[in-house]
């Protein structure tokens, strides 16, 4: 790139010479000044650094794009901007405390993070069969509500990134309803640490099931509206169709799972293929399409939300028949001693439990203290448990040395693997289509970087 004349004085878009050529800093609406500084007959390559702080990169994702005009010839990802050392931190907390860490990884599907971890702990403990039915139904219900909220954000932000702001506002409005359900059941809208080894943290609240019924009824009305807005919209289809193409062989080689894999027509869904938490007892369909592009993935997400509503309805009817049933494993050496309750100073242990341990039983106090500070021990060994998160296969590799803390916890986050397909999906296409391709695999950087 020749730089014969560097006379620009724009303080917001300065340029500097480096050993690998001139570097321009572009902050928006000053592209013309940069272009004017570039020789029109360039034969050298231009490398554009996009992100990590950029509204269209779906989070703190850095894209390094080599462009020729508006075509992308090479695309690479830079990740790690949201690394928080969650896996390392979990090695210094008890098995139960681990839930509050892993729920923060993929912040759009906290329930699935928790489920993968909790199922792995239970498998190491060998208590998978002892988890009460009500806890399993509650887990499935929360995971499916979570799937709806995650898909809504995927569609909302994907729409926003191509300029469809109404899709964004509609998506976030509906997602709010999902978060209300989380708040009602767990006390927290995100990062709720609702699933615990052995069960769930709290029983169904008063009026909880009616609220879920209203939610399902409202979503049944509003999801078709979203479909009517987008499905046949010529601009939407024009931007999404044939963009971000990745066929079955590409998906398997690059480890891509979830809606992107199902958009190739392969019905791989762990809920059906390797059922957990009793998914094999629910009636639902796996959605596939033969359009392995951004549009096919969008339609799959839309249809999967309908299927999730079906599962949620079945969960509610089961929960109505399980009133008063336990939500935590019966083994007192593992079960968290107290259930959560809302008190005057916020959420905490139930008052009855406090009265019991502080006023009635010394042994109960000792038991509570030991289990909460020391925690339970998990027999040595390792396990690998996978769940179908909204983005694909989310797995937890958990190693125990027989102690009160995980020896090693590793999460195979679907976004991490799926993001490797960026180059295959966007090279050779237009610069604007890179955004669509990445939005179609819906990476969540909290999960990628952990």
């Amino acid at each position: 790139m020749s730089t014969t004349d560097q006379t620009q004085t724009d303080p917001y878009a300065p340029s500097q010479e480096t050993t690998s050529g001139p570097v321009y800093t572009v902050t928006g609406q000053d592209w013309d000044t940069v272009v004017s500084g570039v020789d029109p007959d360039i034969s050298e390559r231009i490398v554009v650094n996009m992100g990590p702080q950029h509204p269209s990169t779906h989070g703190v994702l850095r894209l390094i794009l080599e462009i020729e005009g508006e075509s992308v010839t090479e695309a690479r990802c830079g990740i790690g901007y949201l690394h928080t050392g969650i896996e390392k931190n979990m090695e210094y907390r008890t098995w139960t405390q681990g839930v509050t860490f892993c729920t923060r990884m993929d912040y759009l599907s906290p329930m699935h993070n928790e489920a993968a971890y909790v199922l792995a702990v239970e498998k190491l403990l060998g208590i998978t069969d002892q988890v009460p039915e009500k806890a399993e139904v509650l887990r499935v219900m929360m995971m499916e509500v979570n799937r709806i909220s995650s898909h809504l954000v995927a569609i909302a932000t994907g729409g926003m990134e191509i300029g469809a702001l109404t899709v964004m506002t509609v998506g976030f409005r509906e997602r709010e309803l999902c978060l209300d359900i989380f708040e009602l059941f767990s006390g927290l809208r995100m990062n709720s640490a609702y699933l615990r080894p052995g069960g769930v943290s709290a029983d169904v609240p008063d009026g909880g099931l009616d609220a879920v019924d209203r939610f399902v009824a409202l979503m049944r009305k509003r999801l078709p509206e979203l479909a009517a807005l987008c499905n046949q919209n010529p601009i939407f289809k024009g931007r999404l169709q044939d963009v971000g193409y990745l066929d079955l062989a590409g998906c398997l080689a690059l480890g891509v799972t979830g809606p992107a894999l199902r958009s190739t027509g392969y019905d791989w869904d762990l809920r059906k293929k390797q059922p957990y938490s009793g998914y094999d007892t629910y009636d639902f369909d796996v959605i596939t399409r033969d359009e392995p592009d951004a549009y096919g993935r969008f339609r799959i997400r839309l249809d999967e939300m309908d299927q999730s509503l079906r599962i949620v309805e079945q969960c509610v009817s089961r929960l109505r028949g399980l009133e008063g049933a336990p939500v935590m494993v019966a083994d007192k050496k593992i079960a968290w001693p107290a259930q959560l309750a809302v008190g005057p100073d916020g959420q905490g242990n139930s008052l009855e439990h406090i009265r019991h341990i502080m006023g009635e039983s010394m042994e109960a106090l000792i038991h509570h203290f030991k289990l909460v500070t020391e925690g339970f021990r998990v027999p040595a060994g390792q396990t690998y448990v996978s769940v179908e998160s909204p983005r694909g296969e989310l797995s937890c590799h958990l190693v125990s040395d027989g102690g009160t803390r995980p020896y090693r916890a590793h999460f195979r986050d679907p976004s991490f693997s799926n993001l490797q397909a960026t180059a295959a999906m966007s090279e050779g296409g237009m610069l604007a289509d890179v955004i669509v391709a990445i939005a179609s695999i819906d990476p969540v950087m909290g999960g990628v970087d952990r």
Binding site: I79, G80, H83, G85, E87, K88, N89, E91, Y92, R93, K123, L124, G126, L252, A253, L254, G255, V256, T257, Y266, W268, K273, Q274, E374, G375, A380, G381, Q382, T383, Y384, S386, E393, S395, H397, V399, D401, G402, G403, T404, R405, Y407, R408, H410, R412, F416, S417, L419, Q420, D449, R450
Partner: protein, 239 residues
């Protein structure tokens, strides 16, 4: 740690004879509250607890595990325990194959390409650091998934800290690219043959490998309502 007598020593380390133990003892913990020497006045100071991982299993493994092992022995031309596959562990309904670090690429190639095995998806690679497992401190764990047969197996490959090299499987499973980079970043395992083995999550100039057990968690004491709470890795721990 069980070492098969016929397996070769890696990195110039002495091979421990397998006849001495039956369990895979990787460490021995002492005391109760993470205090060592004269500091522990709790009376639990003499407590000793060996840390043992599940031991190698003998045939039959049960279910489809034998089918996979038979087929793998056929395509490799060597039996489990006498070649590339050093041992097999069946625990909690999962099959783990311990594979030698030079041959892991070969084994993966067969596992992917043979129609009877067909593990077409490498789900992920994670590292585990066992600082007391002498000569085999660093483990890389591969999680393979066969969608055709709906099966999962796990490969475990060990390397000594003094020579942390393992053959890369990127040429077999392209998805292993980022997973191997992550394992290198956090454990310092060098995957020979990887196209561009650089750090992925930590900054490029970061010193050390954070997920190793001797790498401190870090943190500062926090004062709350007059009490000072030490950082998590300095708090009382139950060994």
């Amino acid at each position: 740690m069980t070492q098969d007598p016929s397996s070769t020593a890696v990195g110039g380390e002495e091979v421990v004879p397998s006849t001495a133990r039956t369990l895979e003892v990787i460490d021995v913990r002492e005391g109760m509250f993470g205090v060592h020497g004269s500091g522990d006045t709790s009376g639990y100071g003499g407590l000793q607890r060996p840390v043992a991982m599940p031991e190698a299993s003998a045939r039959p493994y049960g279910g489809w595990f034998d089918e996979v092992a038979d087929r793998l022995e056929q395509v490799l031309g060597e039996s489990v325990g006498a070649g590339a596959v050093e041992s097999a562990v069946v625990d909690r309904g999962e099959l783990t194959l311990h594979v030698s670090r030079e041959r892991v690429r070969d084994v993966c190639q067969h596992l992917r390409d043979d129609a009877g095995l067909r593990f077409e998806l490498c789900s992920g690679i994670s590292g585990v650091h066992y600082p007391h497992d002498a000569g085999r401190e660093l483990h890389a764990v591969y999680h393979l998934l066969s969608m055709t047969h709906n099966r999962r197996i796990r490969l475990e490959v060990a390397a000594p800290e003094s020579d942390p090299h393992i053959a890369s499987v990127v040429s077999v499973y392209p998805t292993a690219d980022w997973h191997e980079r992550e394992t290198y970043d956090f454990f310092g395992i060098v995957f020979d043959g990887h196209p561009a083995l650089t750090r992925i999550l930590m900054p490029d100039d970061w010193p050390g490998h954070p997920q190793r057990k001797d790498y401190p968690l870090g943190g500062i004491p926090v004062e709350y309502k007059g009490a000072t709470i030490p950082p998590p890795d300095e708090r009382r721990s139950y060994s």
